[in-house]
Assembly symmetry: C4
Homo-oligomer: 205 residues x 4
C-alpha cells in the first residue's frame, strides 16, 4: 500500500470542502451563542418592570455574545485570508483544521459559562484557555501551510507569510495576557478581547 500513501498527498488537493465545513461550523457557533439568552420569568403574569429587570440582567450575556461573536468573526475572516493563499491541502493540514474546529465548537459553551458565572476566576480561565487553544491551532495551521512554502504558491513573499504569522498570534497573545490578568481580576481578563480590533488595526499599518 506504499502506492496509496504516495498518492494520498495528491488526493486532498481541493480545499473547497474544508472551507464549506468551516463556514458551517462558524455559522452554527455564531447562532448558538444566542441560545444562552434565557429569561426564566414565568410567561403568564409578568409586569413590565419585572421583564425590564430580566432583560437588564441579560446584559452580561449580551456583552459576552458580542465578544465571542467578534472573536469568531476574526477567526473566520483570517480563515478566509489563509485560504486565499493556501493552494492545496494535505492530511495533516486537514487534521490541524479539525483540531481548530474542535475548540471553535466549544466557544458557545465557554461563553455561556463566563456569562453565567463571570465573576469567578475558573470560568474566566476556561473561556481564555478555549481561545488560547483555538488560536494556537489556527496559528499552527498557517505555520504548517507556509513552512518552506509547503502548501502555498512558491512566489508568496516571505514578508507576507511573516506578517500573517503575526496576525495569527494576536488571539493567542491576548489569551495569555487575559489568563495572567484573570488570576487577579476575572472580570477584567475577558474584557481584554474587546481590544483585538485595535491590535489588528495597529498591526496592519
Amino acid at each position: 500500500m506504499g502506492l496509496l500513501s504516495e498518492r494520498s498527498l495528491k488526493l486532498e488537493l481541493s480545499t473547497s470542502r474544508i472551507e464549506a465545513l468551516t463556514d458551517g461550523v462558524f455559522a452554527i457557533a455564531m447562532t448558538l451563542l444566542v441560545l444562552n439568552f434565557d429569561i426564566t420569568e414565568p410567561k403568564g403574569d409578568i409586569t413590565h418592570e419585572k421583564l425590564v429587570d430580566a432583560l437588564h440582567s441579560l446584559w452580561p450575556y449580551f456583552s459576552h455574545y458580542v465578544q465571542s461573536f467578534i472573536i469568531l468573526a476574526v477567526f473566520w475572516t483570517k480563515h478566509h485570508q489563509q485560504f486565499h493563499f493556501i493552494r492545496r491541502s494535505d492530511r495533516t493540514l486537514l487534521w490541524i483544521n479539525l483540531g481548530f474546529l474542535l475548540f471553535v465548537c466549544l466557544i458557545p459553551f465557554s461563553t455561556s459559562v463566563v456569562g453565567d458565572y463571570g465573576g469567578l476566576r475558573i470560568s474566566a480561565l476556561l473561556f481564555e484557555l478555549n481561545m488560547l487553544l483555538a488560536g494556537s491551532f489556527f496559528w499552527f495551521h498557517w505555520r504548517y501551510a507556509t513552512h518552506e512554502h509547503r502548501l502555498v504558491d512558491k512566489e508568496l513573499k516571505p514578508e507576507i507569510i511573516r506578517a500573517y504569522s503575526h496576525f495569527m498570534l494576536v488571539v493567542p497573545a491576548f489569551s495569555i495576557a487575559a489568563i495572567a490578568l484573570s488570576i487577579f481580576h476575572p472580570r477584567w481578563g475577558t474584557n481584554i478581547y474587546f481590544l483585538i480590533p485595535f491590535a489588528v488595526y495597529f498591526l496592519r499599518r
Copy 2:
C-alpha cells in the same frame, strides 16, 4: 508592512465565502425560530381538549414565527440581490456584513421574547430595535458597496443603485414606525411588519 496593507484590499476579492457564511446563518436562524414552540403539558395523561388548548396557545408564537421568517426571507433575498451586483469585497464590507449577521443571529431570541411577553411594551421595542439595527447595517452595506461604484460594476446605472437603496430602507423605516407605534400599542407595533411585502411590491412598480 505597508506592502501588506496595499495588497490586502485585493486579497478579499472573492465574495463566495461571505455568501456561504450568510446562507448558513440564515438557514439556522430560520430553523431555530421554531425552537420557541414549546408545549409544557405533561407527556403522559393528556386529554384531547387540553392538547388542543395547548396548541391553540401557540398561535402567537406561530404568528411571530411567520413574521420573523418573512423578515429573514426579505433580508436574504435582498442579500442575494446585493451580491448580484457587488463584484468584489474589501475588509470594511466584510465587517459591515458581520455586523449585520450579529443582529440577524439575535432575531430568534427577540422573536421568542415577543412571543412570550407580546403584550408588554419592552418586548415589542426589543424586537423592533433588533430589526432596526439589522436593517440599518444592511442598508449601510449597500451604501458602502455602491458609493462612487466602490465595489460594483462601473456601468451599474445610478437609478438602479438609488432604487435598491430605497428597498434597503424598507425594514429600517418600518421599524421606526413600529417603535413609535409600540410606545402606545405594543401589539399593533409588531404587526406592521406584515405590510412589508405590500411595500416592496409598491416600490417595485
Copy 3:
C-alpha cells in the same frame, strides 16, 4: 422604476444560493429532529433496568424520527431533481421556495408533537397538515417553473414534466389520505408515510 422591474427578472438567474439555503435548512431540520430524544431519568443513581425502560420508551420517537427523516430526504432528493431541470429563477419562484422552507422548518416541531402525543388525533392532524402544506408548495414550485417552460429548458420533454408532477403529488396525496384516516385512527394515519418509498418506486416503473 419600470426599468428596475424589467431588469429584476433577469437579475435572479443564479439558482446556486437558493440551493445553498435549502441544503442548510434541510441539514439543520434533519439534525434537530433528534433533539426530541430526551431521557428524563436522573443522571446519578439509575439502574440498568430503568435506563433500558427509558430507552425503550423512546421507541415512538425513533419511529417518528425515521419517518420525518425519510420525508425530508424525499423532499431534498426531489428538490435536487427539480433544480437539475430548472435553469434560472425569478422572484416568484424564490418566494414559493421560501414558503416551502417555512413549512420544512416546522417539521421538527410537528414531529416532536406527534412523538409526545401520538395517540391524540389533533397531533396526528398537525403533523399531516404540515406535510400537506410543505408538499403542496413543493408541487406548486414545479408547476410554476415548468408552466409553458417558464424557467426550464425549451427542449425539456412534456412527458418528463408530467411524470415529475406526479412525483411531486405523492406527499400531498399521502397527506390527504393520512388526514382522512387520522380522523378515525390517529396512529395509523401517520404510519402511511412509510409507504412513500414504495409509491415512488411504483411511479418510476
Copy 4:
C-alpha cells in the same frame, strides 16, 4: 414512463449537493455535541469551589465529545476522499448516503446518553451500535460506488479500491470489538475508539 427511468440515472450526475448536505449535517452534529455540556448549579450564589467541582464533573462529557468529534472527523475526511474518486451519483448511492446521514444525526444523542450514563452497559452498547450502523452504511457506500467501477473512473486501480475498502472497515470493526468488550466492561468498550487514529496510521503504511 420507461423513458424517465432510463434518463433518471443520468439525471443525478452532480455530486455537489450531496456533499453540501453532508457538510451541513456534519457541521451541525459536531456543534450540537457540545449542547450536552450542562451545568445545573444555580447561577446566583455559587462558590468558586462548587463551580470547579461542576466543571470537573463535566470531564466524562468532554472525553466523549472529543471521541465523537474524532469519529465524525474520520467519517467526514473519508467522505471527502470517497467523493474525490466518485465521479457521478445515482439514486441508490443518494439513498445509501442518506441512510449514513440518518445515523450520523443520531451521534449527538448517543454521545449524550453515554455521557450521562457511561457506566451502564446499555448506553455503551447504544453508542457502539450507532457507530456500527453509520460505519456499515459508509462502507457499503464505497462498495456500491466502486463495484465493477460503477460510479468511479474506469482507470481507478483495484488496489486503491481495495485499500479504501479496508479503511472504511475500521469503524465497523472497532465497533464490533467495542460491543464485545462492553458486554463485560462498558467503560472500556467506548474508549477503544481513541485507538482509531493509530489503526488508520497503521493501515496507511
